[in-house]
Assembly symmetry: C2
Homo-oligomer: 343 residues x 2
Amino acid sequence: MSPKHVAIVGATGAVGRTLLSILAERRFPVGRLTLLATSRSAGERVLALGDEHPVHEVTPERLEGHDFVFFSAGTDGARRWAPAAVERGAVVIDNSYAFRMEPGIPLVVPEVNGHALGPEARLIANPNCSTIQLVLVLAPIARHVGLERIVVSTYQSVSGTGIEALGELESQVAGDARGVVPEPRVYPHPIAFNVVPQVDEFVDGGYTREERKLVDETRKILEQPELRLTATTVRVPVRVAHSEAVNLSLSRSVSAAEARAWLAQAPGVVVVDDPARSAYPTPLAAAGRDEAFVGRIRVDESQPAGLDLWISCDNLRKGAALNAVQIAEQVLARSPAPTGRAS
Amino acid sequence: MSPKHVAIVGATGAVGRTLLSILAERRFPVGRLTLLATSRSAGERVLALGDEHPVHEVTPERLEGHDFVFFSAGTDGARRWAPAAVERGAVVIDNSYAFRMEPGIPLVVPEVNGHALGPEARLIANPNCSTIQLVLVLAPIARHVGLERIVVSTYQSVSGTGIEALGELESQVAGDARGVVPEPRVYPHPIAFNVVPQVDEFVDGGYTREERKLVDETRKILEQPELRLTATTVRVPVRVAHSEAVNLSLSRSVSAAEARAWLAQAPGVVVVDDPARSAYPTPLAAAGRDEAFVGRIRVDESQPAGLDLWISCDNLRKGAALNAVQIAEQVLARSPAPTGRAS
């Protein structure tokens, strides 16, 4: 395959750096690599794919001449620059929520709804981290039985907020050992030795944006616009990998063994479920791995037909960068290949 | 009130030490104080109520002559010694699950079901920490509306396991800073910078004992033996105070404002719920406090009549020691006063 010209907007962030690792790991056919960021990070140099690359400030001219532009630059960055990149012929894969809920914009987890990625799509939204791991597990179940209602409680790592939040956790842990915990700056409350039941800002009805994303995006990806789903999203002092306690109300009763069998065959999912050996997913074990890990699968006796289960998944990899690269791989595999640069 | 002779079995544990603080804080009328423990801790000396006290190995003779014996000595310790203490005339308040589900044994949270503590009760069970904070919040709601079904996900602190677990968290955090994390011994997986979806041992149907306790004890305390309730219990790297994400299905729709008003008047409960100021309970803020803190109260739109909410509560205080002392205070207030020692 001919090398592709690739740009990353937000190259110095937690997801941007993971993108660079994953492009290398998966031998994505990168020809020219352009690293872009806001003016704050421009001028840095980043080691990637065996070379040191300068980080430039994003401008319309810098977006010219790429096959793929990965955006991990927040909602503002995406709204400002993603359309310009598309106009200049690139396929854009955006990790922010700027375009996710727009009709006509594909919101894709390749293992779940790769079919949503039509041959013409040039702006593709990468779902929210906590959504990706949830739909990876829901979809294989939904193929066999109706999803009546879902209750999710999350245990989300600080890397989901970004590199600054990782630094805040470290400095609070170090401060704790010295007896002086620095004031929180990234989060509204200390995160070390604490849990904070707020992820992202509050929007309406007492819900946070993260909770709304989880509901709206799951409905769009599963193509069930009326799916009944509620969530409480919570930050925990974990560095990488989000976890979710999930309660499912189903259209008919399902045994834990049935659910395990469906999930064991699901792409991108690994079942870790042997209570006798204390085997179940944890974020520490999921960090650095590509799959969503699911366990604690059991019949919920509080309803006629329900299951409880537990999911852990690396939020930087499958929850963000890996899924974006998989989308790009799917674009490459579709024919004709993107012709933006040549046209 | 005449001073009471008090013994604590398990005086050197996390709950035992908190019991001693709370007896002092609340000016419980302690006359003679006897500190007991297993042979492993016997011989230690503990500073309590302004004096240094020796810790003796528990024997039937040592249990003689007390008005109150507080047990925080695990299930084995309670099964072995609590009946002997009752036979010797004491009122026993046991913090283990040994007797909680026995018919005829009161399982009491004074603010919720103080009436269950009959005038004759001499062996009284203190509920599980994660149950106490849940029923404190459920009871005021259940007085106004039917509880149809409850889904709970917990975020439980390591002090619930005991002092050894606190040490394990500290040593793993310290090891992490040096790049060498010691092998877990108390928990089956590392707890520092991780979450572990197992609290207590696995019992049946894929559920842990903690999950079964939460279901069974809530039913008994709320006197709703058929209450539909499911739980996933999870350990988090927090030192003190458990949190719970709770989803309620109700018999009729309730606004967040209504629920807040009911909870604001509930004894032992404090509403902290102002999203605009990022005000909600966290375990760090609940640690060292006496009440169950509740927030994130909002209508669950995934069902016709439901609420989501979030609770944090100090598991050593209200979740264990404080509740036990409140039970003893209620016993003192009943007439006639306990006459075990005099009879």
